[in-house]
């Protein structure tokens, strides 16, 4: 045990402490600053995991797979906190939120980061389940924070469907344990990833299959796969924008991470049914469905929420297709999507603030009135629909091509879905960014820094991936089969 506290400890304790502190801190400026600081510290801690990863024990597990998630998680968490600091200030001015709300908000924010870190780090499937439930409940409360009719409805919908999902996931978890118990023996060993993955080949395949069905549906609800997606658009649309960013950028990934872990178990067991086709189907359905849904959207945040569904579909599809290339692409796509989509939500949040509306129809000619916002919106949409030279292009390139080499006939509907989504998003983007301006021309107050930072990363990733990162991803890709 070194003198320095273990990075994982920092990752868990720090946000928790911060949450406690923020819950009592009166001044929202100070608490916002503290929020940023804590998030940044967490990011540093997670980055250190690249260098020294603590050995797995009964509670925590750090391996190539989840480090990627953790770092992404803390980074976006940090930028989102920066954005929210400026965003919240504006909300105070307009009086949508009060200082009392904000205490709650910041505390919840840190608590959310804590629970997500926990879910990612936990070595124990039960612990992970609890963490994800906590994360869900936290976000439920934050979605409802505006207490408008719509917000409450969204929160309630999210809560109920989320709870059902949680229940199903728990049942799946129990099944996994029961599958493991005869082989691994009773007690906590039967719930540790480390031991599970070791003994997976010996598990009862049918029990595993059954478990996977429940887990896929349970955590899939959190991932937002169609047809389990119902909560997602409203939750994104009605909550505060930083939370929408965190939801799209992080929470979905966490749930996805859970699904991946269990996929590993099934892959390890030769006699269990291959999870690939199941996931690929769900993914494809989500892509095409979300693409169609995009056309009728009138609320800009809801629209991008649907685009998140689409991209989660793409990722799950790619993981389902499997193979080192597709897995690599899926990981890349996940990272790129988190960065891009959160940046888009930062942009959209500012747009909604200056224009005072989320209605697409009432936003016009942004590139004229707010060049920075307008062009960031254009850039973001191009990045998210997978136009070069942005990172999503590379991942989609790899996904489509590798699909062609593995299951050619699945590539066509995939391409169709992507094209469809592109059509919808570009249509709305053009309407908002170009044409004769409409609405207020007040300058944007929130900082554009996080947006630019994300876009810079996405842009670079499309053209140049640093070799260490590549090798890292390839490790994971191979590990995922």
């Amino acid at each position: 045990m070194s003198v320095l506290p273990d990075a994982t400890v920092v990752l868990l304790a720090l946000p928790l402490a911060a949450a406690a502190l923020l819950a009592v801190l009166p001044s929202y400026r100070l608490s916002a600053a503290l929020n940023v600081a804590a998030a940044f510290a967490a990011f540093l801690a997670s980055a250190s995991l690249f260098v020294v990863a603590p050995p797995p024990n009964a509670y925590i597990l750090i391996d190539d797979l989840n480090v990627v998630f953790i770092v992404l998680n803390t980074f976006v968490g940090f930028t989102a906190s920066v954005f929210s600091a400026t965003y919240i200030a504006h909300e105070i001015e307009t009086g949508r939120l009060t200082a009392k709300h904000l205490r709650f908000y910041h505390a919840m924010y840190q608590f959310l980061l804590f629970s997500m870190n926990l879910a990612l780090i936990a070595n124990n499937i039960g612990l992970m389940w609890v963490a994800i439930e906590l994360a869900t409940l936290t976000t439920v409360l934050m979605v409802g924070i505006y207490q408008t009719q719509a917000a409450i409805e969204a929160a309630w919908k999210y809560f109920i469907l989320g709870s059902v999902g949680i229940a199903l996931a728990l049942f799946g978890t129990i099944l996994i344990y029961m599958a493991a118990q005869p082989v691994v023996g009773e007690g906590v060993q039967g719930m540790l990833w480390t031991s599970l993955i070791q003994h997976a080949p010996g598990f009862d395949p049918t029990l595993l299959d059954l478990a996977f069905v429940f887990l896929l549906l349970g955590y899939g609800t959190k991932v937002g796969l169609a047809p389990l997606h119902a909560w997602l658009p409203d939750a994104h649309a009605e909550g505060p924008t930083p939370i929408s960013a965190v939801l799209s950028g992080l929470l979905l990934n966490v749930a996805l991470y859970a699904v991946l872990r269990f996929k590993l178990l099934l892959d390890a067991n030769a006699r269990a049914l291959a999870p690939g086709p199941l996931m690929a189907t769900l993914g494809l359905v989500s892509v095409v469905f979300a693409a169609f849904m995009l056309y009728r959207r009138r609320d800009v945040k809801r629209m991008f929420a649907y685009s998140s569904i689409e991209h989660m579909g793409v990722i799950v599809f790619a993981f389902g297709i499997g193979g080192p290339l597709a897995n690599f692409a899926a990981l890349l796509h996940m990272a790129m999507h988190s960065l891009t989509k959160s940046a888009i939500f930062y942009t959209v949040g500012q747009i909604a603030q200056v224009k005072g509306t989320q209605q697409i129809a009432e936003i016009r000619g942004l590139t004229v009135t707010h060049p920075l916002l307008g062009w960031s919106l254009v850039f973001g949409v191009f990045a998210i629909v997978g136009l070069p030279p942005m990172g999503v292009f590379m991942s989609e390139f790899l996904i489509v091509t590798s699909t062609f080499s593995r299951a050619p006939w699945l590539a066509l509907p995939l391409a169709f879905g992507l094209l469809l989504a592109l059509g919808a998003l570009v249509l709305r983007m053009q309407a908002m960014a170009f044409g004769a301006p409409a609405g207020s021309t007040a300058p944007a107050k929130s900082s554009a820094l996080p947006i630019l930072a994300h876009f810079a990363l996405v842009l670079i990733a499309g053209v140049y991936l640093p070799p260490p990162l590549v090798t890292w991803f390839q490790h994971v890709a191979v590990m995922l089969r």
Binding site: A150, L170, I174, Q181, P182, E186, R296, R297, R298
Partner: protein, 220 residues
Amino acid sequence: MRGLAFDVAHLLAGGLVLMSFLLLYQTRLYALLNTFALQAVVLSLSVAWQAYVQGADHLYVTAVIAFAFKAIVIPIALHRIIIELGIDRDVENVVGVGPTMLAGLALVALSEVVMLRIAGGADVLAREDLAFALSVVLLGLLMMVVRRNAVSMVVGFMSLENGLILAGAGAKGMPLVVEVSVAFSVLVALVVIGVFLFRISERFESIDAEALDSFRERGR
């Protein structure tokens, strides 16, 4: 001894499923609540039996929690709500009771089939428990789906959870069962509070009912 343990467990688990059917069958709220309380009792009994059989003492805690919380606190709270909101009348089913029961039967059959495919790896007791647990879960879901009334939905959700607890208890030496049951109790409590706070008088829909339609058409 083994045989007896098996039979009792089987009996109790079966009783749980039966209770779920009764829940589906009830059409009046008070009766519904009482039946649910009864199910909770049966659940705590079976959990306690599991604790006894497996010699796992922490399961007793679960049993107690289940009994105290589900058999007493929640039903009373729901009674209060019913009076508060003045919805003391028949439950509206989306589909009639008959078809619901048939669907329930089909679900039970389904879960049996799924479970029978499992090779003898897991021991018989656990397997049987599992089959029943799955049925209870499915029936709970079915109830949530076919009932319009908020209270009966909450009840459905809780009976689903009963299934989970049963499964958890059935899983030999599974850790965290207690924690999980606690966590779930919290969840349920939140649901109930939500129902109470938002005055979800008639049905879950009412939150997003007519009042919101206009906004909706504009909105999305």
